[in-house]
């Protein structure tokens, strides 16, 4: 009995000691609750519109499901079917080509323009806005239509090209060219990574350049030895984001190729084929399997990028 009586105040003591070090507990709980409450619309949306459908799609990936009849479990059939489908292989090839050509070009342009715009000169604000604008409107369907009309037979691009004696008869209908029309569209929207590069360039300490100048470094030397290493975290961020973004291309391919991602499957990007299988051919199971395959591929590429960053991304050790 005495033991118990004695132990009570002791435990109270430790509890109050603990709360003294961590701050007032009840208030914190209320704070947490408020936090969750404010987050609840997002959490509900996430569970209903993202997590739920994802789980469902994972299940569908292993079924034969045509939207109308109940899904039928088929194990890995969808995946074997997918790997043996020449159109699927074509879509992987087209997407890879788009990512590998489009992303570096876009980043190069973004970095180049950011370098030009980081120097202070007259009208700087105007130029920044002007170069950023395409990124704002770029995702819209209307730009797809504009692009289509720019690159059609007899349209401005074709006429300009023909003027220089290089007649291909418009890019849109030409299976060899039409993908580059999409690449041009994504490259044109370099504004978002450019803004991030600009922010990164602003962070590079002036002293480093001054010190390098004292040592007689030229502009190229300064770029390679100071600018590039200093902005490498930003570069990494941009590479990652733009790569992931590129894998998901859909809208422009769909619109420029007039809703069926042709001609000769030249713009049959992965998501476009996924969409066709799911919504046109009513093979939702196969489409789900394709979606998960894409997720895996993007995860893999992301992992490789993270792994590679040890080799080329430099973080300043003791910066603020």
């Amino acid at each position: 009995m005495t033991l118990v009586k004695d132990s009570l105040p002791a435990s109270r003591k430790t509890r109050s000691a603990a709360s003294a070090t961590t701050g007032r507990r009840p208030g914190r709980r209320r704070e947490n609750l408020a936090g969750y409450l404010f987050m609840s619309p997002w959490i509900a949306g996430f569970l209903l519109l993202t997590a739920g459908p994802m789980v469902a799609s994972l299940y569908f990936a292993f079924t034969d499901y045509n939207l109308f009849n109940a899904p039928k479990w088929v194990g890995l059939d969808n995946f074997t079917k997918m790997f043996h489908d020449p159109r699927w292989q074509k879509s992987v090839e087209v997407t890879a080509k788009y990512v590998i050509i489009g992303t570096p070009l876009k980043l190069l342009l973004a970095l180049g323009v950011a370098l030009l715009l980081s120097q202070s000169r007259r009208g700087q604000a105007f130029y920044r806005a002007a170069f950023y604008a395409p990124s704002l409107i770029g995702a819209s369907v209307s730009v797809g239509f504009v692009w289509r009309s720019l690159f059609s037979d007899g349209a401005i691009v074709d006429r300009t090209q023909s003027f220089f004696g290089w007649h291909v008869g418009g890019w849109v209908g030409n299976a060899d060219w039409v993908l580059y029309c999409l690449v041009a569209l994504t490259v044109w929207q370099f504004g978002a990574p450019m803004v991030i590069f600009l922010a990164g360039l602003k962070q590079v300490p002036r002293e480093l350049y001054e010190a390098a100048e004292m040592d007689g470094a030229g502009p190229l030397r300064k770029f390679w030895s100071i600018t590039l290493p200093m902005i490498s975290p930003v570069l990494f961020f941009n590479v990652l984001l733009e790569t992931i973004h590129s894998f998901q291309i859909f809208g422009s391919a769909y619109v420029v190729s007039n809703t069926y991602c042709g001609p000769a499957d030249a713009t049959l990007v992965y998501t476009c084929y996924l969409y066709q299988q799911g919504f046109k051919n009513a093979q939702m199971g196969l489409a789900s399997a394709m979606a998960w395959m894409l997720l895996l591929a993007v995860a893999l590429v992301t992992a490789v990028l993270f792994w590679s960053q040890k080799k080329w991304v430099h973080y300043e050790e003791d910066a603020r």
Binding site: S57, G169, V172, G173, G262, K280, A291
Partner: protein, 428 residues
């Protein structure tokens, strides 16, 4: 930047996670179906495919209907042909198809198999809809296994639409009973004299190939499969490919560029096989004068043609079958509706509407004349059945044929691919 590095990393990971999550594509279908309200007013949804021109006419007819049936409100929705069926499929799968919708023969079995289509016989028996007073045999088009799944609004038949100015300039005169040989010779003459390719790509049109097969005692479809073999298609596509190379058929690259316009109305071809009522569309789109010519034959007699039709179908899930039946009845029988619609969806199917509309403009007159001539020639046969999956196969035929024309695939590979895709479509 110790902490900032972690932070950045986390943000990036989160961003990566979020974008990856966004890939789990999902089907979220539109909600809210027509329903009744307190005062007994009922709203039904009506969807169809077509363009602005048709939309204007349809809205006028709906105004008439709502005036006559003040208790029924009609909500409309329209897209282009391809988008229409994509949307419809999603809606139907979600158990929320429109109450009434435009339909065509290639989709009847597909959606009947899935229990989407209302058998309108019951409504006809109940007296909400009349199946009488239709031009001969046209209601047969909407019949599958004894069920009336669609009511025709207009009938049409495959035809050769020609650019009259170009044909005249080349001195080519199409005539009934001409053979394929005559036709291809004509294309060559046109190309030699006017530099315009004669045809916009006949070998990718499923309905035309069907006619050609029918002329030769076969058909594109049987009840549950394809009615021709790989050797047939190899021959058809080899010829087609050679004619593209020879320049007498429009380069598929150009056809691609012209979309959504047709290469005929864009002036990149002198003729195109299509449904006769499309002349209305070409006239609106293009700047030349368009007319109709007979389908070439194999033996100088049989064209393989039949009457097809656009129909109105009802959803088996509708909560207002009676109102829907009344709406269809009004749309197919009311004479005023007939005069507004004209031959936009083919020659008016019911006798009331057919008699009410007397075409005065040259285009509609020519369509009427064409169908009258075709009927008189006695070439019209019965329609071949379209199994479930026909729509996917039609799209594949067009796409793979186009790849072939682009020179992106060999004939033998294209044929193999088409048969593989068809197999998959029949099973889906």
């Amino acid at each position: 930047m110790g902490t900032s590095r972690n932070l950045e990393r986390r943000t990036i990971l989160r961003a990566a996670g979020a974008s990856a999550a966004a890939l789990g594509l999902t089907a979220v279908t539109g909600c809210g179906s027509g329903s009744g309200s307190g005062d007994g007013t009922v709203t039904i949804r009506y969807s169809w495919w077509g363009a602005e021109e048709r939309a204007k006419k349809i809205n006028q007819t709906i105004a008439l209907f709502e005036k006559k049936y003040p208790k029924i409100k009609v909500k409309t929705d329209f897209q282009t042909y391809a988008s229409f069926w994509e949307k419809f499929q999603t809606q139907a799968a979600g158990g929320n198809p429109p109450d009434v919708f435009q339909n065509a023969v290639g989709f009847l079995r597909k959606y009947d198999k899935r229990g989407i289509l209302l058998d309108l016989n019951s409504q006809a028996k109940a007296g909400n809809l009349s199946l009488d007073h239709f031009r001969d045999g046209v209601t047969k088009v909407g019949e599958v296994d004894g069920k009336q799944l669609g009511i025709p609004v207009g009938s049409n038949t495959m035809a050769l639409v020609i650019d009259k100015k170009v044909f005249q300039k080349a001195g080519v005169e199409p005539h009934a009973g001409w053979t394929w040989e005559d036709y291809f010779k004509a294309l060559k003459t046109i190309h030699d004299k006017t530099k315009v390719p004669g045809d916009t790509g006949y070998f990718t049109i499923m309905y035309l190939y069907d006619l050609y097969l029918r002329q030769n005692g076969k058909a594109f479809f049987t009840k549950d499969g394809l009615g021709f073999d790989q050797a047939d298609l190899t021959e058809w596509w080899t010829d087609g490919y050679n004619r593209v190379k020879a320049g007498i058929v429009t380069d598929p690259k150009i056809v691609e560029q012209d979309k959504p316009k047709s290469s005929l109305s864009a002036g990149h071809g002198a003729s195109e096989f299509t449904w006769d009522n499309f002349t209305v569309r070409y006239t609106a789109e293009g700047s030349s004068t368009y007319g109709l010519a007979p389908i070439p034959t194999t033996d100088g007699k049989q064209t393989g043609q039949y009457l097809a039709s656009l129909m109105l179908s009802a959803s088996a899930h509708t909560s207002h079958p009676k109102e829907v039946a009344q709406f269809i009845d009004f749309m197919v029988h009311d004479p005023q509706v007939g005069t507004i619609m004209g031959y936009d969806r083919g020659i008016l199917a019911s006798t009331e509407q057919y008699e009410a509309f007397k075409p005065t403009d040259p285009v509609n007159k020519e369509i009427a004349q064409y169908e009258a001539d075709t009927a008189k020639a006695g070439v019209l046969g019965t329609i071949t059945p379209h199994p479930s999956g026909a729509d996917t196969i039609e799209a594949a035929f067009l796409r793979i044929g186009g790849d072939l024309g682009q020179g992106k695939t060999k004939v033998s590979d294209a044929v193999k691919q088409f048969f593989t895709e068809s197999d998959a479509a029949f099973q889906a």
